[in-house]
Each structure stands twice: as structure tokens, then as C-alpha cells.
């Protein structure tokens, strides 16, 4: 809207006074309609009305001049009419040179598009304040180990107690922890992401429910079933029911009373959908054996994170004693909410923005070169204008206006491109980009981008304008056609720009190449199972309706059997911890041998016997688990190769016996087989020692199904759901995904950076090469006459082409050298993102150099070849 108001300034004052307000009204009516109709209509309106405003402003000015023919147009005009005049002239110039203009427009559009898109993605994360007041005072408090400054651990309750009693540090402090449970009776059953928190948590964030109230200490102490819900949950599950307060809802089979509704944006911590009271008894507060409290606090006014860290560490030291390991070498860590939440992505995101700016600089250099080329060709025009009385300033102003028009229009195009690409980027975004699905180009982004386009336009046009005006206003301008390629300063500037572009492009391409190599290396790590064609879904049994082991086991066993009979299913397995799904369970086993029992902390998963077949995990020794391994049979387990290697000291693995220390009365378990390793969390981390226990002998409350299908996995979701419903209609099927999705999610961050950086690097190379081509082609045209003379005097075509290519490549070589230096020096910033690849990986950097140099050579060679094929007779006859 402000933009349109600005456009109106182009009109003559009288016309604007008379109709400006009405025009704005009409525009705003259409604007509202278009906004409702969608981004495409909006974009069309912007383009149509901008063009309309400019065209008619120009026409109106012309009309006025005809009617007041006596007034001189250079001395009598207002600044606005100067601008309109220059713009009109600029448009005329562009019409006369459509190819150059199009090239400049596309160049600017791509540069601005890259910046707008990246900025729109990172702005919500880095620049939008969190949805609660005075976010600077909200901190996350962790325990840490003195020697490892980057490690953070959740807190022990007695430490929390000590922190809470430290005077003067916090105005509020709250412990919380996550809880997932199933909501039934409000649409399909659904898994809720909840926070169990001390009542002070709302005070910490400084946010109150918009309806109802938050829970109290008394309710927390009494373990009252009261719940505060998020705005999103209220809207999606309760139809924004105004009478929701006081309603009873069913979570894991128990009734909970809704007592509060939080404001719209609020979902801290961890995108919570609901908050319930956390009960920490006095006895709990003495507990020194478990660590489970996430802690958030609001610092007292004037308090700093450093001072708080010192005070809390002192409080922890007071609890330590020489006889116990508790709190030995432990410290408190206090980080601001903003740092804690986004610090680990901040550097990466700023890196992307920097790369986007580099692309814009390359684009700007193209713009400068085009202007310079254009201006060189227009020497006579400027000489003439200056001869009939135009001042230098007027000519410079004219050239700068031309650049600004190009930059603004190119910028607008770029913003449109960004509007289309941002949703695609959002689709790639890993989980940590909050509300990624809602990402879009906001008005802030548009304003920033247009500003950026204009600054770039100014920056890159002033020097060429000054240079070429200086030339045009020198005494004997008519000889210009003989100093065909321009003055020394112009040639230097042209080469300098190409050198810069090539150097910058090589920096981006080199970085991208190193990342590609690292990514390929990472994703080609053997994960030990085959993730394709597998549908995954989670089933959790509420303890209330499944208190006993046998019904739980029966449900999962029947579910595996029933899904297996569905058409299109190859095999089905159930497990408590499917690789790459972030479920992981550890327990303490003792190996029962000849000597004293040795305890080993080991990851374990309960699996249906079909697990190994379904995931295609190979058997190395012994036997797999079988349907006959039931609670009536001797208890058995299968281990992975990493377990066998790690515990080789125990002697024979197969036949070794284990006991679960958490359940000392359970029968001993005999290891009957060794299977291949599977990576569990990420491509990077090698497989850990793991134990597989048969479903027939254990009864988990939670399992993930893995269904190997013949066709597309997700097509089978309805059948899996109906199998579950037939067994128990109250159970939800959660997280219906594919195993490929989970495995892909493990490298989502890498893929995100790689894709964006790859696109930016390709843009950089494309723009640099196009610029190089454009300049060479242009210089060739100016040198046609010289080349004709050379050929006429007996030079051969290859020699002439060689000369031209050599001269064209000189700035490219300089750019490559500078760029290589920059890559080698700047590679450090990539190091955090790399896997088993040096930041200065020679092969990757060499490949990048070869690609860039090769394309640049082609860009020089094409026009050179064309130029050297001129017919000297024809060329010399011209003029």
C-alpha cells in the first residue's frame, strides 16, 4: 500500500491532488480482493498496477508538457518531474536494448530472489521474538560437567531445589518434563505432546491463560487431573468451543478437567499442545539418583546469566560431599531462551544469508558491467547531450536512474520468484525450523528485499556512471569509436568485476562441493538394514486398560499377525525401538559367568520374531528369535555384532547368560544368536551394543510397527488402521510414516543446507558465467573492426580466437586464484557441518575449480569464435 502511495508521486502534482486519494481507494479495494484470491492474483495485481501507474504517470506528464509548452523542462520542473523524466528516458533506453535489459533484469531478479527466500526462512527463527514478554530474562538452566563446556544435562531434583532456594537469582523458576499420552473422544484418537510442569512455569514465561486459569501448587501436590490447553489444540480438536473450560476430556482413559486456554502463539516449551501439573514431592526433592527436570527460569531484574551461573554452581557445590560422587565436577549452566533454542542453528543460517548476499554481489557486478557496456556504447549520445548543455550531474543522475529502475523491477520479479520458492524450501526444512509449514514471504521481507535491490542498484551504478560521463565530457569524444573498448579505467573496472565474480562464485561452489562430498560419504554409510518399502506406525497401550502383560502381548502379537494377512503386505514386525525413530531403551544387564557378575549397560529392544526378516538384518551366528520363544520356554536373546565384539572378553557369546538388573526376579536370559549391526540414531554414529528380546517373553506398553509392503507403503495405512480397530477401537495409530522418512529425517539438516547452498552456488556460477559471456561478447562487438584488420593483415582464425580467449580468461584466472585462496582460508566455517571430509578437501575443491574455469572458458570461447569468423572485407567496408 505504501508502495502504491509512493508510485503516485510519479504523477504531476495537480493530477495527484485531484485523483490521488481516489486512486489509492480503488487500488486498496482491488488489493483486498486479490489478497483473498491468493498469492497469484496478488502478484498479478502488483505487476499490473505498477506498470499502469508508471505508464500513465509518464503519459500524464507528456500531456502537461504539451499544454504548458512554454515552461522549460529542465529548469522549471519539480524533483518529481525530473524523476519521471529520467524514468521515462530510462524506459526508452531499455526498449532500445531489450537483450541487455532482459539480462540485467534476470540477473537482479535471481540475486534478489535468493536473498528474499533465505531471509524469509531465517527471519522467523532469528529475528522474531518468542511469544512471551521480556524474552531476554527467560533462561534455560542445565547441569554441566566442568571439563565439557558444551554438554548440558537435565537437572537432578535436589539440585533444582538448591537453585530454587538461591536468593535473588530468579523471579520464577520451574521444572518441567515431557509427557505423551492419547487423547480420545475428540475426533480420532490422537497422541498429545504435553508438558508436565510446576505451576510456576506460567510465571516464568509471563503468559496467562486467555480463558480460565492455570493450575496451582495445591493441585500439583494433590495430583489433580487438570489441564491447560493450547490455542491450536482448542481450535483443531475442540472446534474452538467457547465453553471448553470445565469440560472433561479423556487422556489415556482418565478424565481430565480443562481449566485454562493459552493465547494463540504460545506453545513453549517444545511446541507443547497442553500443560499439566508436575508433582514433585518433598521426598522427590531429596532424590540424588535421577536426573529428569528440564528447567526454565525468569531471571530477577538486573540479573545476568553469568552471575546466575556462578550463584547456582555455588549452590550445587554446597550439596557435594567428599564421600559421594554427587555433584563432583558438576556446574550449573544458564543460557538465554533464545540462545538455547536457536544457537546451534544460528551460525548455519547466517552462513546461508551471507551466501545469498554474495550471490547478490555477483548479480550486482553483472548489472554494473552491463551498465558500463551500455554506457560505453552510448559515449556519443552523452557527448552530444553534454554539448547541448546537460551537466555531468544530470547525465550521472540519468544513468543511476536507469540502474535503479532495473534494480527495482528486477527486485520485484525476484520477490515473486521467492514467493513461489519459499514453500518449497519450507518443505525441505528440518524439524528445528519452527512452524516450517507456515513459512511465507512476509511484508517485512518484501520491504527489506526492495531496499536491498535499491541499495545494490545505487551501489553498482554510481561508478560506471561516473566513469563513462568523465569519458563523454572529455574534449574530443568523436574519436570514441577508435578507442573501441573504452578507457583504461573502464577496462580495469570490467576485468575487476569479472575477477570478483569468479572469486566469489568459486567460494560458494567450493563450499558446496565439499558439502556434497561429505553428504555422499555420510549417506553411503552402511546402516545395516533396508529401509525402503516400509510403513511405520506407533501403537501405545494405556496402562489403565492394559494393566497386565498377557493382554498387551496378545494385542501386539495379533496385530502383527492380522496386518500380515492384508493384501499387499510382504511381512510385518513390531519393535519397541525402530532404528532412526528416536526411541531408545537402555537397561542394566549382568552377565552371569564363572566369576563375579559383571554389569553391562546395553540398549535393548523387544521385537516380534519377524523383525530380522522384515528389516533384512542378517544372521551371523546361532539362530534368530522364533515364535516358540514364549514365556513358557527358556528366556532367550539375540545380540548384535557390536555386542559380541564389545564383550568378546566374556568368552563364547552364544550360550552366555544375562540377567536384567532392573527386574532381579526375572529368569536368566540365554544368548542364542548374533545378527548384523544396524545404526540406530544417525548415519554418523556407529552401531552400539544391542540386545533383541522376543515379544513372546516380554510385554511392552508401546511398540512401533514396521510393515514391508509390495507397493507404496503409505497406501497400506488404512488397512493397518482397520486391523488395529478390529482388535481395539480405542487405540490410535500414531506417527504413520515410512522408514525412508525416518532415515531421511536423520540427514534432514544436512540435506537442507546442502540443497540451499547448492542452489545458491549454482546461481552464483550461472550469474558469473553469464556475466563473463556478456562482457566478452560485448567487447568482441566493439573489437570487430580490429579483428577484421588483423585477419586482413594475415592473422589466422585460430590465432585470433586464441588471442581473444587468452585476454578474456585473464581476469577469470585472477578470480580463480583469489577464490581458491578464499576457499582455503574460509573453509573453517564449514567444519561443523562435515562428515569424514576435510573442509579443504582437495578433490572437491579441484572439481569446483574445474567446473567454474571450464564454463568460464566456454563463455569466452563462444563469442571469440564468432568474432574471429567475421569477413574482413565486410567489416572494413563499414563506417
Amino acid at each position: 500500500m505504501f508502495l502504491y502511495r509512493w508510485l503516485l508521486k510519479l504523477y504531476p502534482t495537480a493530477f495527484r491532488r485531484r485523483f490521488g486519494q481516489d486512486m489509492l481507494e480503488v487500488f486498496s479495494d482491488r488489493w483486498r480482493l486479490a489478497r483473498r484470491a491468493g498469492p497469484w492474483q496478488t502478484a498479478r495485481l502488483i505487476v499490473a498496477s505498477t506498470t499502469d501507474a508508471i505508464v500513465h504517470a509518464v503519459a500524464e506528464h507528456r500531456l502537461q508538457r504539451h499544454s504548458h509548452a512554454s515552461t522549460s523542462r529542465l529548469s522549471g520542473g519539480t524533483p518529481v518531474s525530473f524523476l519521471a523524466h529520467d524514468v521515462r528516458y530510462a524506459i526508452r533506453m531499455f526498449r532500445a536494448r531489450p537483450a541487455l535489459t532482459a539480462a540485467a533484469l534476470v540477473t537482479m531478479a535471481l540475486g534478489i530472489a535468493a536473498n528474499t527466500a533465505v531471509f524469509a526462512v531465517i527471519r522467523p527463527l532469528l529475528l522474531t521474538p518468542p511469544p512471551f514478554p521480556e524474552p531476554d530474562r527467560v533462561v534455560l538452566v542445565y547441569e554441566g560437567v566442568k571439563a565439557k563446556p558444551s554438554d548440558r544435562y537435565v537437572a537432578n531434583p535436589s539440585n533444582f531445589d538448591a537453585w530454587e532456594r538461591t536468593p535473588g537469582v530468579f523471579s520464577a523458576l520451574a521444572g518441567h518434563s515431557g509427557w505423551q499420552a492419547t487423547l480420545t473422544g475428540a475426533g480420532d484418537p490422537v497422541r498429545l505432546r504435553m508438558t508436565t510442569a510446576m505451576p510456576a512455569i506460567f510465571e516464568v514465561f509471563g503468559v496467562r491463560p486467555v480463558r480460565g486459569r492455570s493450575f496451582t501448587e495445591a493441585e500439583a501436590a494433590a495430583r489433580a487431573r487438570v489441564i491447560v490447553i493450547s490455542h491450536a489444540l482448542w481450535r483443531d480438536r475442540f472446534g474452538a468451543d467457547p465453553g471448553v473450560i470445565g469440560r472433561l476430556i479423556t487422556i489415556d482413559g482418565n478424565p481430565w478437567e480443562v481449566i485454562g486456554l493459552m493465547p494463540k502463539e504460545f506453545d513453549a516449551p517444545f511446541q507443547a499442545q497442553a500443560w499439566v501439573p508436575l508433582t514433585v514431592t518433598q521426598a522427590d526433592r531429596q532424590n540424588r539418583n535421577s536426573w529428569f527436570l528440564q528447567t526454565v527460569g525468569r531471571l530477577a531484574p538486573g540479573q545476568t546469566t553469568e552471575a546466575a551461573t556462578r550463584a547456582l554452581t555455588t549452590a550445587m557445590e554446597a550439596l557435594a560431599s567428599p564421600t559421594s560422587r554427587f555433584n563432583r565436577d558438576r556446574v550449573a549452566r544458564v543460557v538465554t531462551w533464545q540462545d538455547g533454542e536457536v544457537s546451534y542453528v544460528r551460525s548455519g543460517l547466517w552462513m546461508l544469508q551471507t551466501m545469498a548476499l554474495i550471490v547478490l554481489v555477483i548479480a550486482g557486478a553483472n548489472l554494473a558491467n552491463l551498465l558500463l557496456a551500455q554506457a560505453t556504447g552510448r559515449t556519443r549520445e552523452f557527448a552530444l547531450r553534454s554539448a547541448i548543455g546537460a551537466s555531468r550531474a544530470q547525465i550521472v543522475r540519468q544513468l543511476v536512474t536507469e540502474a535503479l529502475v532495473l534494480a527495482a523491477v528486477g527486485g520485484a520479479l525476484g520477490i515473486l520468484i521467492a514467493v513461489w520458492t519459499v514453500p518449497a524450501i519450507a518443505g525441505l526444512a528440518p524439524d528445528w525450523l519452527p512452524r516450517a509449514s507456515e513459512l511465507q514471504v512476509a511484508w517485512t521481507d518484501v520491504a527489506v528485499s526492495l531496499g536491498l535491490a535499491i541499495v545494490a542498484g545505487l551501489f553498482f551504478s554510481v561508478l560506471p556512471a561516473v566513469l563513462c560521463v568523465r569519458r563523454a565530457t572529455r574534449p574530443v569524444p568523436v574519436a570514441a569509436s577508435y578507442t573501441a573498448t573504452g578507457t583504461r579505467a573502464e577496462r580495469l573496472m570490467r576485468s575487476g568485476l569479472i575477477t570478483c565474480q569468479v572469486a566469489l562464485a568459486l567460494m560458494l561452489l567450493g563450499g558446496a562441493a565439499v558439502l556434497v562430498k561429505s553428504f555422499v560419504k555420510l549417506t553411503s554409510q552402511p546402516i545395516g538394514f533396508s529401509p525402503d518399502h516400509i510403513l511405520t506406525a506407533e501403537v501405545a497401550l494405556p496402562r489403565k486398560s492394559y494393566p497386565d502383560a498377557e493382554p498387551r502381548r496378545a494385542l501386539f502379537t495379533s496385530l502383527v499377525r492380522d496386518v500380515g494377512t492384508q493384501p499387499g503386505v510382504r511381512s510385518v514386525a513390531a519393535t519397541t525401538a525402530l532404528p532412526f525413530t528416536w526411541w531408545e531403551f537402555m537397561t542394566d544387564f549382568s552377565v552371569l559367568g564363572d566369576g563375579p557378575a559383571k554389569s553391562v549397560d546395553t540398549a535393548f529392544r523387544v521385537v516380534s520374531p519377524s523383525y530380522f526378516d522384515t528389516l533384512q538384518v542378517p544372521l551371523l551366528q546361532g539362530r534368530l528369535l522364533a515364535d516358540t520363544d514364549t514365556s513358557a520356554a527358556p528366556y532367550v536373546a539375540v545380540v548384535n555384532d557390536a555386542f559380541a565384539r564389545k564383550h568378546a572378553a566374556f568368552g563364547r557369546i552364544i550360550g552366555a547368560r544375562l540377567r536384567d538388573n532392573d527386574e532381579p526376579n526375572s529368569p536368566p536370559i540365554t544368548i542364542v544368536g548374533i545378527v548384523g549391526d544396524t545404526r540406530h540414531r544417525s548415519f554418523e554414529r556407529p552401531a552400539q551394543a544391542e540386545l533383541y528380546l522376543p515379544l513372546g517373553q516380554h510385554a511392552p506398553v508401546f511398540m512401533t510397527l514396521a510393515v514391508r509392503t509390495l507397493g507404496r507403503p503409505l497406501d497400506l495405512a488404512p488397512q493397518v488402521r482397520s486391523s488395529l480397530r478390529a482388535l481395539d477401537p480405542t487405540l490410535p495409530l500414531n506417527e504413520v510414516k515410512t522408514l525412508d522418512f525416518w532415515v531421511g529425517a536423520a540427514v534432514a539438516e544436512e540435506r537442507f543446507y546442502l540443497t540451499l547452498l547448492g542452489v545458491l552456488a549454482s546461481l552464483a556460477v550461472l550469474l558469473a558465467v553469464v556475466g563473463n559471456y556478456g562482457v566478452t561478447a560485448y567487447v568482441m562487438r566493439l573489437r570487430t573492426r580490429e579483428i577484421g584488420i588483423r585477419l586482413a593483415l594475415g592473422a589466422t582464425v585460430p590465432r585470433v580466437a586464441g588471442l581473444v580467449v587468452r585476454q578474456g580468461l585473464l581476469p577469470v584466472v585472477a578470480g580463480v586464484v583469489i577464490g581458491l585462496g578464499a576457499v582455503l582460508v574460509g573453509a573453517r566455517i564449514l567444519e561443523d557441518q562435515l562428515f569424514q571430509t576435510g573442509a579443504r578437501d582437495p578433490i572437491a575443491i579441484l572439481a569446483a575449480t574445474a567446473i567454474l574455469f571450464g564454463t568460464a572458458a566456454i563463455a569466452c570461447w563462444l563469442p571469440a569464435r564468432r568474432a574471429s569468423r567475421v569477413n574482413p572485407a565486410i567489416v572494413l567496408r563499414q563506417d
Binding site: 485531484r18 485523483f19 481516489d22 486512486m23 481507494e25 498496477s49 499502469d52 501507474a53
Partner: protein, 114 residues
């Protein structure tokens, strides 16, 4: 001084005002509707044409306001003058003549048959 011939946009505006006084946005909406969205007039074009029509006396600014509940007092309404109606009729007549004469052209006839 009436113009020699009306521009297509000017003619459309006169036709739109033929049914009653309208403000700027209503004019563009009426034209867009009547031409099934083929002619969407942007503000710059609209007000420049309105200015020309005002200057040549084919329309005037209206002092009559529509019914109070439909009124939007910020806006200026325009009314067609008798000479505006006459100019519109003449222009339509002129265009019609051109079209009728054109249809009689043998070239067009053969096109139509072929």
C-alpha cells in the same frame, strides 16, 4: 470540445455510468463484470480517462449520493452528462458502422465460409 473519437476505456466508462452514478472502484468492477473480466482497468488508466472525460464535459462529479446505507462518503461519484450519452451513442454507432461495413468485405466473407 468533444474528442474526435472515444478510446475503448472511455466508452466503457460511459456505458458503466449509463445505469447510474458510480465511484471509481464500482466503475472498474462494472466493466470487469460486463466484459467477463477481459477488461480490467487499473487506477492510473481509469483516472486519466476520467480526467479527460471531465475536461470534455462528458461526465461530471455527482453531488447526489446513493442511499445512505450504501454510501461511502470518502468516495467521489461520477455522473454521465447528456453530451456524454450523446457521445457514447455516436461512438457505438460509429463502431457499429465499421463492423457492419467490415462484415460486407468479400475477404471477410470468404474467411467466414472457409
Amino acid at each position: 470540445m468533444p474528442p474526435a473519437s472515444l478510446t475503448p476505456v472511455a466508452l466503457q466508462i460511459l456505458i458503466a455510468l449509463g445505469d447510474g452514478d458510480l465511484h471509481g472502484y464500482a466503475i472498474t468492477a462494472d466493466i470487469a463484470e460486463r466484459t467477463s473480466g477481459q477488461l480490467v482497468i487499473q487506477p492510473g488508466n481509469l483516472y486519466r480517462t476520467l480526467r479527460t472525460l471531465l475536461d470534455s464535459g462528458l461526465i461530471v462529479e455527482s453531488d447526489r449520493r446513493p442511499a445512505a446505507d450504501l454510501d461511502d462518503e470518502r468516495r467521489r461519484y461520477y455522473r454521465i452528462t447528456p453530451s456524454g450519452r450523446k457521445a457514447a451513442h455516436e461512438e457505438i454507432e460509429r463502431l457499429d458502422t465499421i463492423v457492419r461495413q467490415a462484415r460486407r468485405s468479400p475477404w471477410l466473407k470468404s474467411r467466414n465460409r472457409g
